[in-house]
């Protein structure tokens, strides 16, 4: 096992810039989740590590080895594709052993390694079957086992759960996590699903437009996003954003107002925006709370997302599932200053 480093990776396809100076490091044994919207370059980054794309500039290091110019085969990285990429004409066992056979390992040894890998992901009973005889979950396991069988230095997983149904996704998520813990393997895991990112990663890298916006533990990117993009991308439903003005020593943001303090005076010299997570909007009759009209109620089992209009702004409130306010009824909502995020309206940077 070894760590993984991407240094200043640039990659363009014609006029389209896929990666611009991407910097990323996964420590040895770390599960680093790369998350971002479609087209942010996360899959390209993974393919650059695998050697399927050659970067225009920058270096890829696996451990201490510079692999930038090496063929995929010489990098000792295993990839799990979103579509699994199982060979339809080979049995599950032959699929798992494909890379070992390709490297001319003896049949007997291949059989052992295939069994060992299959046992790790609990798919021993399907080894004799062909992919078309397997369920989606079983195919996923076979694809994982194939990646494991070769004992690679790093695992590259490209949205491996996106073709599974919701329940299976949750189970498999937990299994990949526990697999990672048992093997202590370095894994680069790409997903567009922030829930996967927050629940699985040792650290999370949030990407946008070909570069990393923030890398940190799941807690860090949730509680202390470096900018408005990260703040909005992480969290369901997304962050509420209100424009901020100030008058008479108070910040005014939609229906809310806060006393200015500390270096707020200095911050207020530029245009500002206030971010409030839906879970931090509290419905209560506390003094100073603002009046909001219920515009839409989304029931999501244990929670209810209440869309309200307040002072001309649409806000989303995350409330317990027991709450079912009537449309058009009025609520009192409030938020603590400590639970808000202040952004530079122009650069999107988080201010504190």
């Amino acid at each position: 096992m070894s760590g993984l480093t991407l240094e200043g990776i640039h990659k363009t396809y014609g006029d389209v810039v896929a990666l611009r100076g991407l910097e990323l490091t996964a420590a040895e044994g770390e599960l680093l989740v790369v998350v971002g919207p479609s087209g942010c370059g996360k899959t390209t980054a993974l393919r650059v590590v695998a050697g399927l794309e050659r970067p225009d500039a920058g270096r890829v290091l696996i451990g201490e080895r510079d692999v930038t110019r090496l063929a995929p085969a010489k990098r000792n990285a295993s990839m799990v594709f979103q579509t699994y990429a199982l060979f339809p004409h080979l049995t599950a066992g032959d699929n798992i052993g494909f890379g070992l056979r390709a490297r001319r390992m003896k049949r007997a040894e291949v059989t052992l390694r295939v069994r060992e890998a299959a046992a790790l992901v609990r798919c021993e009973e399907v080894l004799d079957r062909h992919p078309y005889e397997l369920s989606g979950g079983e195919r996923q396991r076979v694809a994982l086992a194939r990646a494991l069988a070769r004992h690679p230095d790093v695992f590259l997983l490209d949205e491996p759960l996106s073709n599974l149904d919701a329940q299976l996704r949750v189970e498999t998520r937990a299994e990949i996590e526990s697999l990672h813990r048992r093997l202590g393997a370095t894994m680069l895991y790409v997903t567009h699903d922030q829930v996967e990112a927050l629940t699985m990663g040792d650290r999370v890298a949030v990407m946008r437009d070909g570069s990393v916006e923030q890398v940190g533990t799941p807690e860090e990117v949730y509680a202390a996003p470096v900018n408005r993009f990260v703040a909005r991308f992480i969290g369901i439903p997304p962050l509420n954003i209100l424009p901020v003005t100030h008058r008479g020593g108070r910040f005014l943001a939609g229906p809310f107002s806060f006393a200015m303090r500390g270096n707020d005076e200095r911050l207020a010299r530029r245009p500002l925006e206030l971010g409030i997570r839906p879970e931090h909007l509290v419905i209560s009759t506390a003094k100073g709370n603002a009046v909001a009209t219920v515009a839409l109620v989304e029931v999501a089992g244990p929670e209810t997302f209440i869309h309200v209009d307040a002072a001309g702004h649409r806000l989303i409130v995350r409330a317990p599932g027991s709450m079912r306010p009537k449309l058009g009824s009025e609520l009192l909502i409030g938020v603590r200053r400590a639970n808000t995020l202040l952004f530079d309206a122009e650069t999107g940077e988080t201010l504190s």
């Binding site: 085969a73 080979l90 390709a102």
Partner: protein, 290 residues
């Protein structure tokens, strides 16, 4: 109009064509095979005597041998050519359209024009082929007058009309998901291993179809070249294949019954060859995939 009647009306032109051009002639041929018929006198039922005569007819046996040899040499070469060109040209790159067109073009040239063109190419004195071969020393086969060279010439001609097989093979190759190749490369498979374990098995069903189809086709294909370019010769009947044998007997010697019997024999031979191929392929496939 009910949907059944609609269906019947839509199918009618095809069914009529099928009946008029295939079913009826086939039935007549089958019947004629047991008669003596010369277009002038009424057909005379002779039982199996046509077949008995075929069995002892040296020209028929030579034709049969020629046809089998042609199939045995030309079909694998044609298939290899189609597969090789498909693997070369399935990717997109600058000018690939022109290459693909030039592979396909000889297939759509009318047979007659194609044959006349080759008649010129094979000319031993001023044909471009021997001029070209002359560059490499004193090697100028007498293409159309030497028996072996004439048989080779007919095979060479057939090797350029592989457009359909090429197209089907190329489409099949393009259908294989690129990720399988990407995976193979990250798994460290070398080109030969990738070809043997990924490309070939994934294309196998199509290649088998092409093999059977081309085999059937090869028993009928060489009629025009044999008639126009080599005239069935040079002696002794070096390029008289089954189709030409049938043609000569029917339309030159006016022995329709005998020609029909030879046609039937040709049909049976084709069936037997395809059946044998299928048997071999079945056994081979079992050991192949593992």
């Amino acid at each position: 109009m009910s949907s059944r009647r609609g269906l019947a009306v839509m199918l009618a032109p095809y069914l009529l064509g099928l009946a008029a051009l295939i079913v009826v002639p086939a039935a007549i041929t089958f019947g004629l095979a047991f008669t003596e018929y010369d277009l002038i006198r009424p057909a005379d039922f002779t039982g199996l005597s046509n077949f008995a005569e075929l069995a002892g007819d040296d020209v028929f046996l030579i034709s049969l041998r020629n046809s089998l040899t042609f199939a045995a040499v030309a079909v694998p070469l044609r298939l290899l050519g189609a597969l090789g060109l498909a693997l070369l040209l399935h990717r997109r790159f600058r000018g690939v359209g022109a290459y693909r067109t030039s592979v396909y073009l000889p297939t759509v040239i009318p047979d007659m024009a194609y044959a006349l063109l080759w008649l010129w190419i094979f000319n031993p004195l001023f044909g471009p082929l021997n001029l070209f071969l002359g560059l490499f020393g004193d090697f100028s086969p007498r293409w159309l007058t030497d028996p072996t060279a004439a048989q080779a010439a007919v095979i060479v001609m057939s090797l350029f009309q592989i457009g359909e097989g090429f197209l089907v093979a190329m489409a099949t190759r393009q259908e294989i998901p690129g990720e399988l190749y990407e995976l193979a490369s990250t798994e460290g498979a070398r080109p030969w291993h990738v070809f043997r374990r990924v490309t070939l098995p994934m294309m196998a069903p199509t290649l088998l179809l092409l093999l059977f189809r081309d085999t059937i086709f090869s028993f009928q294909a060489n009629f025009v070249p044999a008639l126009i370019v080599t005239g069935g010769g040079p002696p002794p009947y070096a390029t008289t294949y089954l189709p030409l044998f049938v043609y000569r007997n029917a339309f030159e010697y006016l022995r329709y019954g005998y020609a029909a019997a030879a046609t039937l024999a040709m049909f049976v031979v084709t069936g037997v060859v395809v059946y044998l191929q299928w048997r071999i392929v079945r056994r081979w496939r079992r050991s192949f995939v593992v």
